[in-house]
Symmetry: C2
Subunit: 433 residues, 2 copies
C-alpha cells in the first residue's frame, strides 16, 4: 500500500486533543458569560444560498466565497457555460449574513429585543498565511430590535465580562460613531456620495499614517485640503483629555453633527465608567476583576459599509489589530425584511483570544495500566468501572516497555495518577511523579 | 424594500435558542461521559480534498458529496469542460474519512491506543425528507491501535454510559461479526468474491423479510439453495437461547469459522453481562442506573463495506432503526498509512438521540423590566450588574403593554423571576407566577 498525502486541505488545520480541550473550555466560558447577559445561542447551516452571500454587503469577503456546485449537472458542460451559474450554494463567510436572514425569517417568534449568540465556523478562501486559516471560528453577540445605545453599552459590558472570564486582560475599548466620521468628512469638504471612499482611505491610517492617507486621498481625486482639514479636525478632537472633553469639542467643531450622536457616545462612556467603578470596588473587596480602559477615537472606521451608528474595537497589548469589534447596523436586517429594524453586534476574534486565554489544562485522571496478555478484558473493564465511579476519568493503557518511561509519558499526557493491574486484581492508585 | 426569501437552503434548518440549549446540554453530557473513558476530542476541517472523499470506501455517501468549486476559474468555461474537474474540495459526509486521514498524518504524535471523540456536522445532498437534514451532527468515538476486543467491549460500555447520561433508555445492543456473516455465506454456497453482494441483500432482511431476501438473491443470480440454506443456518443459530448457546451452535454449524470470532463475541457479551451485574448492584444501592439488554444477532450487516470484525447496533424502542452503530474496520486506516492499523468505532445518531434525551430546560434567570424612557441606560446596566453577581443570568427587558401579559410571556420564555425598575432604583425580585 502506498502512503497517500494525509494533510488537511491547504489553509486548513487539524486540531489535537489538547487544542480542542482548550477551545471547548474557552467556548464554554464565553457562552456562560454571555448567557448571564441574556444572550442565547442560535445555529444556522454552514451553507447559504449563493445569491444571499453575494448580496453586496459582505465587502471583500464576497470575493472569498467557497462556491458549492449544483447537484445533477451534466458530466460535460455545454459550450460557453458560465461558471457563475454552476454554484447554487456557498459556505458562509461570517455570522452576520445568516443572523439577518434568521431574524427576518422568524421575527414573529422571537422576543424583542432579541439577544443572539452565535459561535461557529466560517470559511474564506484567503491566501494562506501564518496564523490565518480558511476555516475559522467566530463568536458573535447581537441585539436586534433595540434602538437605544443601551444595546451598545450592554454589548461592550458583556464582551468585557466574557474576555475577563477567559483571562484576556487588560483590554482597551476604542469607540467611535459612523455619523461622527461622516461629519468629519463633511467638515473636510468630502461630498456626501464620496464618504464611503473617504472612509476606505481613512481606515488605513493605522498602517500608512497621515502622510499616506493624504497622498491616497489626493490620488483618488479628493482636493488637497480634504486630507489636511481631516487631520486637523481629528487632531483637535483627540488632543489629550478624557472622553467627555472630546465629545464637547466635537459638538463645537462639527456644527452639522446631531446632538444624539454626542449624547449616545456620552452614555456609552458613562456606562463604561460606572462599570469600572464597580470593578474597582469589587477589587477592593477582594474579588478579582480584570482591568480595562476606554477612549473615544475618531479615527476608528471598521471595514464594513453597513455600520450606521456607534462602532467599537477592543484591543489587547499582545495582539496586533483588535480582539473584538462591532457596531450598530440599523439598515441591514431590514434588507431581508422589508422594514427598518435596529441592530447592533460585536464579534470576538475567537482564534486570537484562544491563544491569549488562560484556562486550566484538562486532568485526564487515572491511567489503568494493565498487562495485555495476562488479564481478561472483562476484568480490566470491571476494574476501570470501579475506579471511574463518580465523575473521574479512567483510561485503559496496555503496559509496555520500561515502567519509568511509560509513567513519564502518561504524566506528560496529563494523567494525574495510575493503577497497575498485572493479574486479576488491580494495585493501589498512585500519583504520577 | 421588497421582502426576500429568508428560509435556510432547502433540506437544512435554523435552530432556535431552546433547541440549541438542548443540543448543547446533550453534547456536553455525551462528551463528559466519553471523556471518563479516556476518549478525547479532535477536530478536522469541514472540507476535505475531493479525491479523498471519493476514495471508494464511502459507499452511497460518495454520490451525495457537496462539491466545492476551484477558486480562480475562468468566467466562461472552454468547450467540453468536464464537470468533475471543476471541484477540488468537498464537504465531509462522515467523520470516519477525516479520522483515518488525521491518524495517518499524526500517528507518531498520538498515544497507542488512541481514543478519539468527534462531534461535528457532516453534509449529504440527500433528497430532503421529514426528519432528515442535509447538514446533521455525528458523534463518534473510535479506538485506533487496539487489536483485541477490549476495544469493542469498551466502546459499547462507553456508549451505554453516554446514552444513560442523557436519559436514553432502555436500549438493546445487537452484536454480530462480519466473519460470522462470511462463514454463513460460505456455508450457504456463496462464492467468496460474491460475499459483498450477498450481504447487501441480507442487509434488507429487516425491511423485506426472508421471502424478499430469497427472491432478490435468486434475481441476482445466486442459486435457489443459497437463500434457503442461509435462512436455515440463521434460524438454527437464533432459535431461543442466550448469547453463549448461539455461539456454541455457531462453532458446530460453521466449521470454517475461526475460533477467534467465537471467543471475541463471547468476551464482548461477558463484558456486557458483567456491566449489567454492576448496574443491578448499583440500583440495589439506590444509585440510578439505566437498563439495557443485548443479543448476538447473525442478521446484522451494517452497510459499509469496510468492516472486518465485530459489528454492533444499539436500538431504542421509540426509534426506527438504530440510535448508535459501529464496528471494527482494521483495514481502513492502513489505506492512508501504507500499513495495517487495527481500529474500531461507534457512532451515535445525534439528531435521533437529542429528540429522546431528557435534560433539564435552561433557566433564563431574572428579567429586569425597566421603563425605557424613565431610567437612564447606565442606571439600568448597573442594576442588572448587581443582580447578576454570582452566576445568575439577568436580561434587560423594556417594560411594555399589560403587565400580566408581559409577565406571562417571560414565564413562558423560561425566566424564573423578575425585577421592576420604573425609576432610579429597582424593586424587589419576585418569582414569576
Amino acid at each position: 500500500m502506498a502512503k497517500l498525502d494525509t494533510g488537511p486541505p491547504r489553509g486548513t488545520r487539524d486540531l489535537f486533543p489538547d487544542a480542542v480541550a482548550k477551545r471547548e473550555a474557552v467556548i464554554s466560558r464565553l457562552a456562560d458569560s454571555y448567557a448571564r447577559f441574556g444572550f442565547r445561542r442560535i445555529e444556522t447551516p454552514a451553507l447559504e444560498d449563493i445569491s444571499r452571500l453575494s448580496w453586496g454587503e459582505g465587502g471583500d469577503n464576497e470575493k472569498l466565497i467557497y462556491r458549492v456546485m449544483r447537484r445533477g449537472l451534466d458530466p460535460v458542460l455545454a459550450d460557453g457555460t458560465n461558471v457563475s451559474g454552476l454554484a447554487d450554494l456557498g459556505l458562509r463567510y461570517d455570522l452576520t449574513v445568516p443572523l439577518t436572514r434568521f431574524y427576518a425569517n422568524n421575527q414573529g417568534r422571537l422576543p424583542s429585543p432579541f439577544r443572539a449568540m452565535q459561535i461557529g465556523p466560517v470559511w474564506r478562501a484567503e491566501r494562506p498565511q501564518k496564523g490565518r486559516y480558511r476555516q475559522f471560528t467566530q463568536c458573535d453577540i447581537d441585539t436586534i430590535g433595540e434602538p437605544s445605545v443601551i444595546a451598545e453599552a450592554e454589548l461592550l459590558e458583556g464582551t468585557l465580562a466574557a474576555l475577563a472570564a477567559i483571562g484576556v486582560a487588560p483590554v482597551r475599548v476604542r469607540l467611535n460613531d459612523r455619523r461622527l466620521l461622516a461629519a468629519i468628512a463633511t467638515e473636510a469638504g468630502v461630498p456626501a456620495e464620496a464618504t464611503g471612499t473617504f472612509l476606505v482611505v481613512l481606515d488605513k491610517l493605522d498602517k500608512i499614517g497621515w502622510e499616506g492617507v493624504k497622498a491616497e486621498l489626493a490620488g483618488r481625486g479628493f482636493g488637497a485640503q480634504v486630507g489636511e482639514r481631516c487631520e486637523g479636525t481629528v487632531g483637535l478632537l483627540s488632543a489629550g483629555g478624557d472622553p467627555s472633553s472630546i465629545l464637547e469639542r466635537a459638538a463645537d467643531l462639527l456644527p452639522g453633527l446631531e446632538r444624539d450622536v454626542i449624547d449616545g457616545l456620552a452614555t456609552t462612556t458613562e456606562s463604561l465608567g460606572r462599570l469600572r467603578q464597580d470593578a474597582v470596588k469589587a477589587a477592593e473587596n477582594g474579588t478579582t476583576q480584570e482591568s480595562f480602559s476606554w477612549a473615544v477615537d475618531p479615527t476608528i472606521v471598521r471595514g464594513m459599509g453597513y455600520y450606521t451608528g456607534q462602532i467599537f474595537e477592543v484591543e489587547h497589548p499582545e495582539v496586533n489589530g483588535s480582539v473584538a469589534g462591532g457596531g450598530r447596523y440599523d439598515g441591514l436586517v431590514g434588507r431581508s425584511l422589508g422594514k427598518e429594524v435596529p441592530a447592533c453586534g460585536i464579534s470576538i476574534g475567537f482564534d486570537r483570544v484562544v491563544d491569549l486565554a488562560v484556562v486550566p489544562p484538562p486532568d485526564l485522571g487515572v491511567a489503568l495500566l494493565y498487562a495485555r496478555d495476562a488479564v481478561p478484558a472483562p476484568d480490566v473493564l470491571a476494574a476501570a468501572r470501579r475506579l471511574r465511579s463518580g465523575s473521574r476519568a479512567v483510561a485503559l493503557v496496555p503496559r509496555r516497555g520500561q515502567m519509568r518511561v511509560q509513567l513519564d509519558a502518561l504524566k506528560e499526557d496529563g494523567y494525574s495518577s495510575f493503577v497497575l493491574m498485572e493479574n486479576g486484581s488491580p494495585g493501589e492508585e498512585r500519583p504520577l511523579r
